[in-house]
Protein backbone atom coordinates (compact mmCIF):
# COMPACT_ATOMS: atom_id res chain seq x y z
CA UNK A 1 0.00 0.00 0.00
CA UNK A 2 1.41 3.40 -1.02
CA UNK A 3 1.78 5.94 1.78
CA UNK A 4 -1.02 8.53 1.56
CA UNK A 5 1.40 11.36 2.34
CA UNK A 6 3.59 10.31 -0.61
CA UNK A 7 0.54 10.41 -2.87
CA UNK A 8 -0.39 13.86 -1.59
CA UNK A 9 3.17 15.15 -2.00
CA UNK A 10 3.34 13.67 -5.51
CA UNK A 11 0.11 15.47 -6.35
CA UNK A 12 1.35 18.76 -4.90
CA UNK A 13 4.62 18.41 -6.79
CA UNK A 14 2.90 17.77 -10.11
CA UNK A 15 0.39 20.54 -9.47
CA UNK A 16 3.14 23.00 -8.56
CA UNK A 17 5.24 22.23 -11.63
CA UNK A 18 2.20 22.24 -13.91
CA UNK A 19 0.92 25.53 -12.53
CA UNK A 20 4.34 27.13 -12.94
CA UNK A 21 4.65 25.70 -16.46
CA UNK A 22 1.17 26.90 -17.32
CA UNK A 23 2.22 30.47 -16.60
CA UNK A 24 4.44 30.32 -19.71
CA UNK A 25 2.54 28.13 -22.14
CA UNK A 26 -0.58 30.23 -22.89
CA UNK A 27 1.50 33.29 -23.75
CA UNK A 28 3.53 31.27 -26.27
CA UNK A 29 0.38 29.78 -27.82
CA UNK A 30 -1.20 33.19 -28.42
CA UNK A 31 1.80 35.42 -29.01
CA UNK A 32 3.04 33.18 -31.81
CA UNK A 33 -0.20 33.75 -33.77
CA UNK A 34 -0.16 37.48 -33.00
CA UNK A 35 3.37 37.56 -34.43
CA UNK A 36 2.07 35.75 -37.50
CA UNK A 37 -0.61 38.44 -37.87
CA UNK A 38 1.95 41.27 -37.52
CA UNK A 39 4.34 39.71 -40.00
CA UNK A 40 1.50 39.03 -42.42
CA UNK A 41 0.78 42.78 -42.44
CA UNK A 42 4.50 43.49 -42.92
CA UNK A 43 4.76 41.18 -45.91
CA UNK A 44 1.52 42.39 -47.51
CA UNK A 45 2.07 46.15 -46.95
CA UNK A 46 5.87 46.32 -46.90
CA UNK A 47 5.84 48.77 -43.97
CA UNK A 48 8.80 48.18 -41.73
CA UNK A 49 6.95 49.24 -38.58
CA UNK A 50 5.27 45.83 -38.71
CA UNK A 51 8.67 44.17 -39.01
CA UNK A 52 9.76 46.11 -35.92
CA UNK A 53 6.65 44.88 -34.16
CA UNK A 54 7.24 41.27 -35.14
CA UNK A 55 10.88 41.47 -34.02
CA UNK A 56 10.10 43.16 -30.70
CA UNK A 57 7.26 40.84 -29.70
CA UNK A 58 9.30 37.94 -31.08
CA UNK A 59 12.04 38.78 -28.57
CA UNK A 60 9.53 38.58 -25.72
CA UNK A 61 8.18 35.33 -27.18
CA UNK A 62 11.67 33.85 -27.15
CA UNK A 63 12.20 34.66 -23.46
CA UNK A 64 8.87 33.07 -22.63
CA UNK A 65 9.42 30.08 -24.91
CA UNK A 66 12.83 29.23 -23.42
CA UNK A 67 11.52 29.23 -19.87
CA UNK A 68 8.36 27.41 -20.91
CA UNK A 69 10.42 24.56 -22.38
CA UNK A 70 12.64 24.44 -19.30
CA UNK A 71 9.68 24.14 -16.94
CA UNK A 72 7.86 21.66 -19.18
CA UNK A 73 10.70 19.16 -19.50
CA UNK A 74 10.58 18.05 -15.88
CA UNK A 75 6.88 17.33 -16.05
CA UNK A 76 7.35 14.63 -18.66
CA UNK A 77 9.95 12.96 -16.44
CA UNK A 78 7.67 13.18 -13.42
CA UNK A 79 5.27 10.72 -15.03
CA UNK A 80 8.03 8.13 -14.78
CA UNK A 81 9.59 9.13 -11.48
CA UNK A 82 6.56 9.98 -9.33
CA UNK A 83 3.71 8.23 -11.16
CA UNK A 84 5.30 4.94 -12.15
CA UNK A 85 2.21 2.77 -11.65
CA UNK A 86 0.16 5.21 -13.69
CA UNK A 87 2.83 5.15 -16.42
CA UNK A 88 2.86 1.37 -16.61
CA UNK A 89 -0.96 1.14 -16.39
CA UNK A 90 -1.80 3.59 -19.21
CA UNK A 91 1.60 4.05 -20.87
CA UNK A 92 0.44 2.29 -24.04
CA UNK A 93 -2.07 5.07 -24.62
CA UNK A 94 -0.46 7.99 -22.86
CA UNK A 95 3.01 7.44 -24.31
CA UNK A 96 2.15 8.02 -27.97
CA UNK A 97 0.64 11.51 -27.66
CA UNK A 98 3.33 12.48 -25.17
CA UNK A 99 6.03 11.41 -27.63
CA UNK A 100 4.36 13.28 -30.49
CA UNK A 101 4.11 16.34 -28.23
CA UNK A 102 7.83 16.10 -27.60
CA UNK A 103 8.51 15.83 -31.32
CA UNK A 104 6.28 18.81 -32.06
CA UNK A 105 7.79 20.96 -29.31
CA UNK A 106 11.44 20.07 -29.73
CA UNK A 107 11.69 19.34 -33.43
CA UNK A 108 9.09 21.41 -35.28
CA UNK A 109 8.55 24.31 -32.89
CA UNK A 110 12.14 24.71 -31.68
CA UNK A 111 13.61 24.35 -35.16
CA UNK A 112 11.33 26.92 -36.67
CA UNK A 113 11.64 29.31 -33.74
CA UNK A 114 15.39 29.29 -34.37
CA UNK A 115 14.80 30.08 -38.03
CA UNK A 116 12.35 32.79 -37.02
CA UNK A 117 14.80 34.54 -34.71
CA UNK A 118 17.94 34.20 -36.80
CA UNK A 119 16.39 34.14 -40.25
CA UNK A 120 15.38 37.77 -40.72
CA UNK A 121 18.44 38.53 -42.84
CA UNK A 122 18.79 35.06 -44.31
CA UNK A 123 15.32 34.23 -45.56
CA UNK A 124 13.09 36.00 -48.02
CA UNK A 125 10.02 37.80 -46.65
CA UNK A 126 7.72 35.01 -47.75
CA UNK A 127 9.94 32.28 -46.37
CA UNK A 128 10.22 34.05 -43.01
CA UNK A 129 6.47 34.54 -42.86
CA UNK A 130 5.99 30.82 -43.52
CA UNK A 131 8.43 30.05 -40.71
CA UNK A 132 6.54 32.32 -38.29
CA UNK A 133 3.24 30.64 -39.17
CA UNK A 134 4.88 27.24 -38.64
CA UNK A 135 6.12 28.34 -35.21
CA UNK A 136 2.56 29.30 -34.30
CA UNK A 137 1.15 26.09 -35.70
CA UNK A 138 3.88 23.99 -34.08
CA UNK A 139 3.40 25.46 -30.62
CA UNK A 140 -0.35 24.93 -30.78
CA UNK A 141 -0.03 21.40 -32.21
CA UNK A 142 2.38 20.64 -29.41
CA UNK A 143 -0.34 21.72 -26.99
CA UNK A 144 -2.83 19.58 -28.92
CA UNK A 145 -0.92 16.36 -28.17
CA UNK A 146 -0.46 17.01 -24.49
CA UNK A 147 -4.18 17.75 -24.34
CA UNK A 148 -4.92 14.50 -26.18
CA UNK A 149 -3.03 12.77 -23.36
CA UNK A 150 -4.86 14.84 -20.75
CA UNK A 151 -8.18 14.29 -22.50
CA UNK A 152 -7.69 10.55 -22.13
CA UNK A 153 -7.30 11.06 -18.39
CA UNK A 154 -10.58 12.99 -18.32
CA UNK A 155 -12.55 10.75 -20.66
CA UNK A 156 -10.74 7.45 -21.33
CA UNK A 157 -12.03 6.47 -24.76
CA UNK A 158 -10.29 4.45 -27.46
CA UNK A 159 -8.70 2.07 -24.94
CA UNK A 160 -9.52 -1.05 -22.96
CA UNK A 161 -8.01 -2.90 -20.02
CA UNK A 162 -6.31 -6.17 -20.92
CA UNK A 163 -6.49 -8.65 -18.01
CA UNK A 164 -3.61 -10.67 -19.45
CA UNK A 165 -1.06 -7.82 -19.68
CA UNK A 166 -2.67 -6.08 -16.68
CA UNK A 167 -2.66 -2.68 -18.35
CA UNK A 168 -4.72 -0.41 -20.58
CA UNK A 169 -4.22 -0.86 -24.32
CA UNK A 170 -5.09 1.40 -27.21
CA UNK A 171 -8.04 0.14 -29.27
CA UNK A 172 -8.80 3.15 -31.46
CA UNK A 173 -6.44 6.06 -32.12
CA UNK A 174 -9.12 8.11 -33.96
CA UNK A 175 -11.46 7.76 -30.96
CA UNK A 176 -8.67 9.00 -28.73
CA UNK A 177 -7.86 12.13 -30.73
CA UNK A 178 -11.41 12.95 -31.79
CA UNK A 179 -13.02 12.55 -28.37
CA UNK A 180 -15.34 15.50 -27.63
CA UNK A 181 -13.44 16.25 -24.42
CA UNK A 182 -10.08 16.43 -26.20
CA UNK A 183 -11.43 18.59 -29.01
CA UNK A 184 -13.19 21.13 -26.83
CA UNK A 185 -10.36 21.20 -24.28
CA UNK A 186 -7.74 21.81 -26.96
CA UNK A 187 -9.65 24.66 -28.58
CA UNK A 188 -10.55 26.16 -25.18
CA UNK A 189 -6.91 26.04 -24.02
CA UNK A 190 -5.41 27.22 -27.28
CA UNK A 191 -7.76 30.21 -27.53
CA UNK A 192 -7.25 31.00 -23.84
CA UNK A 193 -3.62 31.40 -24.90
CA UNK A 194 -4.69 33.91 -27.56
CA UNK A 195 -6.53 35.89 -24.88
CA UNK A 196 -3.48 35.79 -22.59
CA UNK A 197 -1.22 37.08 -25.34
CA UNK A 198 -3.71 39.76 -26.36
CA UNK A 199 -3.92 41.08 -22.79
CA UNK A 200 -0.13 41.00 -22.50
CA UNK A 201 0.34 42.93 -25.76
CA UNK A 202 -2.34 45.52 -24.93
CA UNK A 203 -0.81 45.97 -21.46
CA UNK A 204 2.74 46.51 -22.70
CA UNK A 205 1.51 48.75 -25.53
CA UNK A 206 -0.48 50.77 -22.98
CA UNK A 207 2.73 51.15 -20.95
CA UNK A 208 4.42 52.74 -23.97
CA UNK A 209 1.44 54.93 -24.80
CA UNK A 210 1.21 56.23 -21.23
CA UNK A 211 4.85 57.27 -21.53
CA UNK A 212 4.48 58.49 -25.11
CA UNK A 213 7.20 56.12 -26.27
CA UNK A 214 7.20 54.05 -29.44
CA UNK A 215 3.73 55.36 -30.25
CA UNK A 216 3.50 53.97 -33.77
CA UNK A 217 4.41 50.50 -32.61
CA UNK A 218 2.30 50.69 -29.46
CA UNK A 219 -0.86 51.91 -31.23
CA UNK A 220 -0.65 49.25 -33.90
CA UNK A 221 0.14 46.52 -31.42
CA UNK A 222 -2.71 47.62 -29.18
CA UNK A 223 -5.13 47.72 -32.13
CA UNK A 224 -4.17 44.27 -33.36
CA UNK A 225 -4.21 42.72 -29.89
CA UNK A 226 -7.56 44.30 -28.97
CA UNK A 227 -9.28 42.85 -32.04
CA UNK A 228 -7.45 39.56 -31.61
CA UNK A 229 -8.50 39.50 -27.96
CA UNK A 230 -12.16 40.40 -28.32
CA UNK A 231 -12.72 37.60 -30.83
CA UNK A 232 -10.62 35.11 -28.87
CA UNK A 233 -12.47 35.85 -25.61
CA UNK A 234 -15.78 35.14 -27.31
CA UNK A 235 -14.26 31.88 -28.56
CA UNK A 236 -13.03 30.90 -25.10
CA UNK A 237 -16.46 31.49 -23.58
CA UNK A 238 -18.12 29.45 -26.34
CA UNK A 239 -15.70 26.57 -25.82
CA UNK A 240 -16.10 26.82 -22.06
CA UNK A 241 -19.78 26.23 -22.61
CA UNK A 242 -18.97 23.26 -24.84
CA UNK A 243 -16.68 21.80 -22.18
CA UNK A 244 -19.44 22.09 -19.57
CA UNK A 245 -21.82 20.32 -21.96
CA UNK A 246 -19.27 17.50 -22.44
CA UNK A 247 -18.59 17.26 -18.69
CA UNK A 248 -22.32 16.75 -18.04
CA UNK A 249 -22.10 13.40 -19.81
CA UNK A 250 -18.52 12.20 -19.24
CA UNK A 251 -17.59 13.70 -15.84
CA UNK A 252 -20.81 14.35 -13.91
CA UNK A 253 -18.96 14.56 -10.57
CA UNK A 254 -16.80 17.39 -11.86
CA UNK A 255 -19.84 19.24 -13.15
CA UNK A 256 -21.72 18.77 -9.87
CA UNK A 257 -18.70 20.12 -7.96
CA UNK A 258 -18.37 23.09 -10.34
CA UNK A 259 -21.99 23.96 -9.68
CA UNK A 260 -22.08 23.10 -5.96
CA UNK A 261 -25.03 20.87 -6.72
CA UNK A 262 -25.88 18.46 -3.90
CA UNK A 263 -29.43 17.48 -4.83
CA UNK A 264 -31.04 17.59 -8.24
CA UNK A 265 -34.02 19.94 -8.30
CA UNK A 266 -36.90 20.11 -10.72
CA UNK A 267 -36.16 21.70 -14.09
CA UNK A 268 -35.41 24.48 -14.87
CA UNK A 269 -32.64 24.34 -12.28
CA UNK A 270 -31.13 27.49 -10.71
CA UNK A 271 -27.45 28.44 -10.98
CA UNK A 272 -25.47 29.02 -7.77
CA UNK A 273 -23.83 32.37 -8.40
CA UNK A 274 -22.31 32.47 -4.92
CA UNK A 275 -22.26 29.72 -2.30
CA UNK A 276 -19.98 28.24 0.34
CA UNK A 277 -20.13 24.46 -0.15
CA UNK A 278 -19.86 22.30 2.97
CA UNK A 279 -18.72 18.85 1.79
CA UNK A 280 -19.21 17.20 5.20
CA UNK A 281 -22.85 18.25 5.47
CA UNK A 282 -23.65 18.11 1.74
CA UNK A 283 -25.08 21.61 1.67
CA UNK A 284 -24.27 25.15 0.61
CA UNK A 285 -24.20 28.12 2.93
CA UNK A 286 -25.18 31.66 1.87
CA UNK A 287 -26.47 30.66 -1.55
CA UNK A 288 -27.20 33.37 -4.11
CA UNK A 289 -29.00 31.79 -7.05
CA UNK A 290 -29.99 32.85 -10.55
CA UNK A 291 -33.23 31.07 -11.53
CA UNK A 292 -33.35 28.62 -14.47
CA UNK A 293 -29.80 29.33 -15.57
CA UNK A 294 -28.14 25.99 -14.72
CA UNK A 295 -30.46 23.94 -16.94
CA UNK A 296 -29.95 26.42 -19.74
CA UNK A 297 -26.16 26.53 -19.42
CA UNK A 298 -25.48 22.83 -18.99
CA UNK A 299 -28.21 21.15 -21.04
CA UNK A 300 -29.04 24.06 -23.39
CA UNK A 301 -32.69 23.47 -22.47
CA UNK A 302 -35.12 24.72 -19.83
CA UNK A 303 -36.31 21.17 -19.20
CA UNK A 304 -32.86 19.63 -18.70
CA UNK A 305 -31.74 18.31 -15.30
CA UNK A 306 -28.30 17.70 -13.85
CA UNK A 307 -27.52 14.96 -11.33
CA UNK A 308 -26.56 16.13 -7.85
CA UNK A 309 -23.75 14.84 -5.67
CA UNK A 310 -26.09 12.75 -3.48
CA UNK A 311 -27.29 10.80 -6.52
CA UNK A 312 -23.75 10.45 -7.86
CA UNK A 313 -22.53 9.03 -4.55
CA UNK A 314 -25.35 6.49 -4.64
CA UNK A 315 -24.36 5.56 -8.17
CA UNK A 316 -20.71 5.23 -7.07
CA UNK A 317 -21.73 2.77 -4.32
CA UNK A 318 -23.42 0.55 -6.90
CA UNK A 319 -20.39 0.78 -9.17
CA UNK A 320 -18.04 -0.11 -6.32
CA UNK A 321 -20.12 -3.19 -5.51
CA UNK A 322 -20.00 -4.16 -9.17
CA UNK A 323 -16.27 -3.42 -9.42
CA UNK A 324 -15.19 -5.58 -6.48
CA UNK A 325 -15.69 -8.90 -8.36
CA UNK A 326 -13.65 -7.47 -11.27
CA UNK A 327 -10.67 -6.76 -8.98
CA UNK A 328 -11.04 -10.18 -7.33
CA UNK A 329 -11.06 -11.78 -10.78
CA UNK A 330 -7.88 -9.87 -11.65
CA UNK A 331 -6.19 -11.21 -8.54
CA UNK A 332 -7.11 -14.74 -9.65
CA UNK A 333 -5.88 -14.03 -13.19
CA UNK A 334 -2.57 -12.73 -11.88
CA UNK A 335 -2.05 -16.14 -10.27
CA UNK A 336 -3.32 -18.09 -13.29
CA UNK A 337 -3.80 -16.13 -16.54
CA UNK A 338 -5.70 -19.07 -18.08
CA UNK A 339 -8.36 -19.22 -15.35
CA UNK A 340 -11.51 -19.22 -17.53
CA UNK A 341 -13.91 -18.64 -14.63
CA UNK A 342 -11.94 -15.64 -13.45
CA UNK A 343 -11.82 -14.26 -17.00
CA UNK A 344 -15.59 -14.66 -17.33
CA UNK A 345 -16.09 -12.93 -13.95
CA UNK A 346 -13.79 -10.12 -15.02
CA UNK A 347 -15.64 -9.61 -18.31
CA UNK A 348 -18.97 -9.44 -16.49
CA UNK A 349 -17.77 -6.65 -14.18
CA UNK A 350 -14.98 -4.95 -16.14
CA UNK A 351 -16.92 -1.70 -16.71
CA UNK A 352 -16.54 -0.83 -13.02
CA UNK A 353 -13.00 -2.12 -12.44
CA UNK A 354 -11.79 1.34 -11.39
CA UNK A 355 -14.43 1.60 -8.68
CA UNK A 356 -13.22 -1.72 -7.30
CA UNK A 357 -9.73 -0.20 -7.05
CA UNK A 358 -11.25 2.85 -5.33
CA UNK A 359 -12.46 0.84 -2.32
CA UNK A 360 -9.18 -1.08 -2.03
CA UNK A 361 -7.73 1.99 -0.37
CA UNK A 362 -9.95 1.19 2.64
CA UNK A 363 -10.17 -2.60 2.25
CA UNK A 364 -6.97 -4.11 0.83
CA UNK A 365 -8.60 -7.54 1.24
CA UNK A 366 -11.79 -7.14 -0.79
CA UNK A 367 -13.31 -10.34 0.59
CA UNK A 368 -13.70 -8.50 3.89
CA UNK A 369 -15.05 -5.18 2.59
CA UNK A 370 -17.81 -3.64 4.73
CA UNK A 371 -20.75 -1.43 3.70
CA UNK A 372 -19.17 1.43 5.68
CA UNK A 373 -15.98 1.13 3.59
CA UNK A 374 -18.04 1.12 0.40
CA UNK A 375 -19.80 4.31 1.56
CA UNK A 376 -16.50 5.94 2.46
CA UNK A 377 -15.06 5.14 -0.98
CA UNK A 378 -18.25 6.44 -2.61
CA UNK A 379 -17.88 9.72 -0.71
CA UNK A 380 -14.29 9.88 -2.00
CA UNK A 381 -15.55 9.66 -5.59
CA UNK A 382 -16.56 13.34 -5.34
CA UNK A 383 -13.84 15.94 -5.98
CA UNK A 384 -13.14 18.75 -3.47
CA UNK A 385 -16.31 20.76 -4.09
CA UNK A 386 -15.40 24.17 -2.64
CA UNK A 387 -12.06 24.35 -4.48
CA UNK A 388 -13.59 23.36 -7.83
CA UNK A 389 -16.65 25.59 -7.29
CA UNK A 390 -14.62 28.73 -6.58
CA UNK A 391 -11.89 28.05 -9.16
CA UNK A 392 -14.63 27.79 -11.77
CA UNK A 393 -16.28 31.04 -10.68
CA UNK A 394 -12.97 32.90 -10.62
CA UNK A 395 -12.16 31.68 -14.14
CA UNK A 396 -15.57 32.74 -15.46
CA UNK A 397 -15.43 36.12 -13.68
CA UNK A 398 -11.99 36.82 -15.13
CA UNK A 399 -13.21 35.75 -18.56
CA UNK A 400 -16.14 38.15 -18.44
CA UNK A 401 -13.88 40.94 -17.14
CA UNK A 402 -11.53 40.41 -20.08
CA UNK A 403 -14.43 40.42 -22.52
CA UNK A 404 -15.58 43.79 -21.13
CA UNK A 405 -12.02 45.14 -21.30
CA UNK A 406 -11.50 44.00 -24.87
CA UNK A 407 -14.88 45.42 -25.86
CA UNK A 408 -13.85 48.87 -24.62
CA UNK A 409 -10.32 48.51 -25.97
CA UNK A 410 -11.63 47.56 -29.42
CA UNK A 411 -14.12 50.45 -29.36
CA UNK A 412 -11.55 53.11 -28.53
CA UNK A 413 -8.81 51.74 -30.72
CA UNK A 414 -11.17 51.54 -33.71
CA UNK A 415 -12.01 55.20 -33.09
CA UNK A 416 -8.24 55.78 -33.03
CA UNK A 417 -8.51 57.55 -29.69
CA UNK A 418 -7.20 54.91 -27.32
CA UNK A 419 -3.98 56.86 -26.71
CA UNK A 420 -6.10 59.63 -25.14
CA UNK A 421 -7.94 57.27 -22.74
CA UNK A 422 -5.49 57.30 -19.87
CA UNK A 423 -7.88 55.35 -17.63
CA UNK A 424 -8.15 52.55 -20.19
CA UNK A 425 -4.40 52.41 -20.68
CA UNK A 426 -3.89 52.17 -16.91
CA UNK A 427 -6.59 49.49 -16.76
CA UNK A 428 -4.73 47.60 -19.52
CA UNK A 429 -1.64 47.52 -17.33
CA UNK A 430 -3.63 46.19 -14.38
CA UNK A 431 -5.20 43.56 -16.62
CA UNK A 432 -1.88 41.83 -17.38
CA UNK A 433 -2.09 39.31 -14.49
CA UNK A 434 -5.78 38.53 -15.08
CA UNK A 435 -5.51 35.97 -17.93
CA UNK A 436 -2.69 34.16 -16.15
CA UNK A 437 -4.89 33.84 -13.05
CA UNK A 438 -7.80 32.70 -15.23
CA UNK A 439 -5.57 30.08 -16.88
CA UNK A 440 -4.44 28.75 -13.53
CA UNK A 441 -8.01 28.68 -12.22
CA UNK A 442 -9.07 26.78 -15.34
CA UNK A 443 -6.32 24.22 -14.80
CA UNK A 444 -7.48 23.75 -11.21
CA UNK A 445 -11.08 23.19 -12.34
CA UNK A 446 -9.97 20.57 -14.89
CA UNK A 447 -7.55 18.69 -12.66
CA UNK A 448 -9.10 19.02 -9.19
CA UNK A 449 -12.44 18.21 -10.79
CA UNK A 450 -11.02 14.90 -12.07
CA UNK A 451 -10.20 13.69 -8.56
CA UNK A 452 -10.08 11.08 -7.07
CA UNK A 453 -8.94 9.65 -10.40
CA UNK A 454 -5.82 9.98 -12.49
CA UNK A 455 -7.78 8.31 -15.31
CA UNK A 456 -11.43 9.08 -14.74
CA UNK A 457 -13.38 6.03 -13.60
CA UNK A 458 -10.46 3.69 -14.36
CA UNK A 459 -7.44 4.36 -12.15
CA UNK A 460 -7.64 6.06 -8.74
CA UNK A 461 -4.99 8.62 -7.82
CA UNK A 462 -4.04 6.76 -4.65
CA UNK A 463 -2.84 3.77 -6.71
CA UNK A 464 -0.97 5.76 -9.34
CA UNK A 465 1.99 7.13 -7.44
CA UNK A 466 5.48 5.66 -7.08
CA UNK A 467 6.69 4.16 -3.82
CA UNK A 468 9.04 6.95 -2.79
CA UNK A 469 9.76 7.95 0.78
CA UNK A 470 8.12 11.02 2.29
CA UNK A 471 11.55 12.61 2.77
CA UNK A 472 12.45 12.17 -0.89
CA UNK A 473 9.15 13.70 -1.99
CA UNK A 474 9.35 16.60 0.47
CA UNK A 475 12.90 17.56 -0.53
CA UNK A 476 12.27 17.20 -4.26
CA UNK A 477 9.12 19.32 -3.87
CA UNK A 478 11.07 22.06 -2.10
CA UNK A 479 13.72 21.83 -4.83
CA UNK A 480 11.15 22.18 -7.61
CA UNK A 481 9.41 25.12 -5.98
CA UNK A 482 12.70 26.91 -5.37
CA UNK A 483 13.95 26.26 -8.92
CA UNK A 484 10.72 27.25 -10.59
CA UNK A 485 10.38 30.37 -8.48
CA UNK A 486 13.84 31.35 -9.73
CA UNK A 487 12.62 30.71 -13.30
CA UNK A 488 9.68 33.05 -12.72
CA UNK A 489 11.98 35.75 -11.34
CA UNK A 490 14.31 35.32 -14.35
CA UNK A 491 11.37 35.53 -16.76
CA UNK A 492 10.02 38.67 -15.14
CA UNK A 493 13.47 40.28 -15.00
CA UNK A 494 14.18 39.54 -18.67
CA UNK A 495 10.72 40.60 -19.77
CA UNK A 496 10.76 43.86 -17.82
CA UNK A 497 14.26 44.64 -19.07
CA UNK A 498 13.31 43.95 -22.70
CA UNK A 499 10.15 46.05 -22.34
CA UNK A 500 12.02 48.96 -20.72
CA UNK A 501 14.65 48.91 -23.49
CA UNK A 502 11.84 48.78 -26.02
CA UNK A 503 11.86 47.87 -29.69
CA UNK A 504 14.61 48.67 -32.14
CA UNK A 505 12.67 50.81 -34.55
CA UNK A 506 13.79 51.68 -38.00
CA UNK A 507 10.98 54.04 -38.82
CA UNK A 508 9.67 55.50 -35.58
CA UNK A 509 12.15 57.14 -33.23
CA UNK A 510 9.55 57.37 -30.44
CA UNK A 511 8.40 60.59 -28.83
CA UNK A 512 9.50 61.32 -25.31
CA UNK A 513 7.78 63.83 -23.01
CA UNK A 514 10.96 65.85 -22.76
CA UNK A 515 11.15 66.27 -26.50
CA UNK A 516 9.46 69.21 -28.24
CA UNK A 517 6.16 68.38 -29.95
CA UNK A 518 7.07 67.47 -33.49
CA UNK A 519 5.49 69.16 -36.44
CA UNK A 520 4.85 67.98 -39.93
CA UNK A 521 5.95 70.22 -42.71
CA UNK A 522 3.28 72.86 -43.23
CA UNK A 523 0.72 71.58 -40.68
CA UNK A 524 0.45 70.73 -36.97
CA UNK A 525 0.39 67.10 -35.99
CA UNK A 526 -3.15 65.88 -35.24
CA UNK A 527 -3.46 64.39 -31.77
CA UNK A 528 -4.36 61.00 -33.20
CA UNK A 529 -1.24 60.93 -35.32
CA UNK A 530 1.07 62.30 -32.67
CA UNK A 531 4.22 60.29 -32.62
CA UNK A 532 3.30 58.16 -35.57
CA UNK A 533 4.02 60.22 -38.67
CA UNK A 534 7.14 62.14 -37.93
CA UNK A 535 9.17 64.04 -40.40
CA UNK A 536 12.58 62.49 -40.72
Amino acid sequence: MINGTVVDLSRIQFAATALYHFLFVPLTLGLSFLLAAMETVYVTTGRSIYKDMAQFWGKLLMINFALGVATGLTMEFQFGTNWSFYSSFVGDIFGAPLAIEGLMAFFMESTFIGLMVFGWERLSKGQHLAVTWLVALGSNLSALWILVANGFMQDPVGAAFDPVTMRMQLTSFPKLIFSPDVQSKFVHTSIAGYVTAAIFVTGVSAFYMLRRRHMALAKRSFRMAALFGVLATMGVITLGDALGFVAASVQPTKLAAMEGLWKAEAAPMPFNLIAFPDQAKHENRFEVQLPDLLSLLVTHSLTGRVRGIDALEGQAERKIENGIPAVQALEALSRDPKDAAALAQFDAHRSDLGYGFLVQRYAPDLSKVTPAQVSEAARDSIPPVAAVFWSFRLMVAFGLLMLAFFGLAALYTLRNSVQEQTWLLKAALWMIPVPFLADEAGWLVAELGRQPWTVFGVLPTWMSASTHSVTYMAFSLIGFIALYSIFIVIEMYLMVRAIRVGPSEHGDPGVHPAQPRPVLVGRPVPAAAHGTRLED
Binding site: F33, T45, S48, V187, R223, G507, D508
Partner: protein, 72 residues
Amino acid sequence: MRTFLHFILFMVVAAVVIVLAAILGNVGAWYFAWLVGTTMIVLISAASAALLDAQEEQALGGSGVFDSHGQT
Protein backbone atom coordinates in the same frame (compact mmCIF):
# COMPACT_ATOMS: atom_id res chain seq x y z
CA MET B 1 -2.46 25.89 -72.02
CA ARG B 2 -0.36 26.78 -68.99
CA THR B 3 -3.18 28.86 -67.51
CA PHE B 4 -5.57 25.99 -68.07
CA LEU B 5 -3.21 23.57 -66.26
CA HIS B 6 -2.92 26.03 -63.39
CA PHE B 7 -6.70 26.25 -63.28
CA ILE B 8 -6.98 22.45 -63.14
CA LEU B 9 -4.29 22.23 -60.47
CA PHE B 10 -5.97 24.81 -58.24
CA MET B 11 -9.36 23.17 -58.77
CA VAL B 12 -7.91 19.82 -57.65
CA VAL B 13 -6.34 21.48 -54.59
CA ALA B 14 -9.66 23.17 -53.81
CA ALA B 15 -11.53 19.88 -54.17
CA VAL B 16 -9.09 18.09 -51.86
CA VAL B 17 -9.36 20.91 -49.28
CA ILE B 18 -13.17 20.78 -49.43
CA VAL B 19 -13.20 16.99 -49.00
CA LEU B 20 -10.74 17.19 -46.08
CA ALA B 21 -12.74 20.01 -44.52
CA ALA B 22 -15.94 18.00 -44.84
CA ILE B 23 -14.30 14.97 -43.18
CA LEU B 24 -12.71 17.08 -40.43
CA GLY B 25 -15.95 18.99 -39.92
CA ASN B 26 -17.77 15.71 -39.49
CA VAL B 27 -15.44 13.87 -37.11
CA GLY B 28 -13.68 16.82 -35.52
CA ALA B 29 -16.03 19.76 -35.55
CA TRP B 30 -14.13 21.72 -32.89
CA TYR B 31 -10.78 21.15 -34.62
CA PHE B 32 -12.31 22.51 -37.79
CA ALA B 33 -13.73 25.46 -35.86
CA TRP B 34 -10.25 26.11 -34.42
CA LEU B 35 -8.62 26.13 -37.86
CA VAL B 36 -11.22 28.44 -39.35
CA GLY B 37 -11.54 30.58 -36.22
CA THR B 38 -7.79 31.07 -35.77
CA THR B 39 -7.35 32.06 -39.39
CA MET B 40 -10.26 34.48 -39.07
CA ILE B 41 -8.93 36.01 -35.83
CA VAL B 42 -5.46 36.49 -37.31
CA LEU B 43 -6.78 38.02 -40.53
CA ILE B 44 -9.20 40.37 -38.74
CA SER B 45 -6.38 41.44 -36.44
CA ALA B 46 -4.14 42.05 -39.46
CA ALA B 47 -6.90 43.95 -41.28
CA SER B 48 -7.43 46.15 -38.23
CA ALA B 49 -3.79 47.27 -38.46
CA ALA B 50 -4.25 48.16 -42.12
CA LEU B 51 -7.38 50.08 -41.11
CA LEU B 52 -5.34 52.07 -38.57
CA ASP B 53 -2.90 53.04 -41.31
CA ALA B 54 -5.81 54.23 -43.44
CA GLN B 55 -7.36 56.15 -40.53
CA GLU B 56 -4.10 57.94 -39.81
CA GLU B 57 -3.66 58.74 -43.46
CA GLN B 58 -7.15 60.23 -43.46
CA ALA B 59 -6.41 62.18 -40.27
CA LEU B 60 -3.51 63.77 -42.09
CA GLY B 61 -5.87 65.04 -44.77
CA GLY B 62 -5.72 62.10 -47.09
CA SER B 63 -2.60 63.41 -48.77
CA GLY B 64 -0.02 61.58 -46.75
CA VAL B 65 2.23 59.45 -48.78
CA PHE B 66 3.68 56.71 -46.65
CA ASP B 67 7.07 55.28 -47.16
CA SER B 68 7.96 51.77 -46.22
CA HIS B 69 8.50 52.87 -42.60
CA GLY B 70 4.91 54.05 -42.20
CA GLN B 71 6.05 57.71 -42.35
CA THR B 72 5.20 60.64 -44.51
